[in-house]
Symmetry: C2
């Protein structure tokens, strides 16, 4: 596939996907970059540039076929395949992710949660079992696991990430408030640092007051 | 304060803050941009450039005073003041945010949750009451509210955001899977689109396989 596409472009693709799905649901069959531009509040030239990274998809004077573009972007984002997800840390955040049906519809299927708290081990969230963290190795050897979400305290995140990498897991969705020390370049790490996002918000509050 | 600082720079500041706190906790008193560079895995010149946006803070041949830099970045990020937070949507995600003590220690104090589900209205999360969403107006008129976190389904997010803006709330931390239609430029919106983050992850998984 396309090499050397910047992560900034990639980061914008899910938003296109979201808007195209809305258009599809509204029964819209084609859309011009100008129309998409008004909807998404980005310039039409940005849209054309972004999509040209992946080969274009548009036709002069016709615009974009909504379903085709939606499906192509889905393929680019790997949404044409199923990804099995495990969640390490079955507290509120872990349970929120397990409960969020929309991830399923995008092909991200939670297959297990793990925790160290004996009070919740053995319980289920939306029919998905909470395992003891000790069972991580056995579980991963017997099931296909594509992504591990870390929703646990930062103290044990690095150690757990290391265990996951040794188990051959190629993608970590990290919510722990730490930059994981994963040296293996074949492992993809995507961070969701909620405190960072809150600080960004508070910076802009202070700036706006001035 | 500094005008025209790019959001990309601002987005990196919480990470500096995080590393400086770790250094402080380890008793480190000063740090050079080269040392910080190794720790944070960004170039020393990037660090100097970033910090120069806010006036520098460093001294040739001495480096940075860790506590001073930590406190200054805290001020830049507005962490020297308390921000009262309300959470709209007291499901798992809302409760996860309310339960997360670290936000408190950064000065983000959750003062109320709101929901439409009669089964949870009146209950408490970490001592913080879940109110009926109908009480939003009265609550906001009688309490100082700085930030509203939207952890509710996207269908009602736009409408709720509008109510919040009319109530004078200046900052929205949006977890709903939609770009809010907030036209008022004095309102700061920070989005956390978890599905987008998961799609970014899956893009990189697919790319790595090739």
């Amino acid at each position: 596939m396309e090499k050397g596409i910047s992560q900034a472009v990639v980061r914008r693709m899910p938003r296109y996907y979201r808007y195209l799905r809305d258009l599809l649901e509204q029964g819209v069959e084609r859309v011009s970059s100008n129309e998409l531009s008004k909807l998404m509040k980005v310039t039409a030239s940005q849209i054309r540039q972004d999509l040209n990274n992946f080969g274009g998809f548009g036709q002069q004077g016709y615009g974009y076929n909504v379903r085709f573009l939606y499906e192509e972007i889905g393929k680019i984002l790997g949404l044409d395949q199923t990804h099995n997800l495990i969640i390490i840390g079955a507290g509120n955040l872990g349970q929120a992710i397990a409960n969020y049906g929309r991830f399923d519809s995008l092909g991200f299927v939670t297959v297990a949660l793990f925790d160290v708290n004996p009070e919740i081990i053995g319980k289920e969230v939306r029919g998905i079992k909470i395992h003891a963290l000790d069972e991580l190795e056995v579980f991963c050897q017997n099931h296909k696991v594509d992504i591990a979400a870390l929703t646990m305290p930062k103290q044990s995140a690095d150690n757990t990430a290391q265990r996951l990498v040794e188990l051959g897991i190629r993608a970590i969705w990290n919510f722990a408030h730490v930059d994981l020390d994963v040296d293996d370049e074949s492992v993809v790490v995507e961070n969701v640092h909620l405190s960072d996002s809150l600080m960004q918000l508070s910076y802009n509050i202070v700036k706006n007051k001035q």
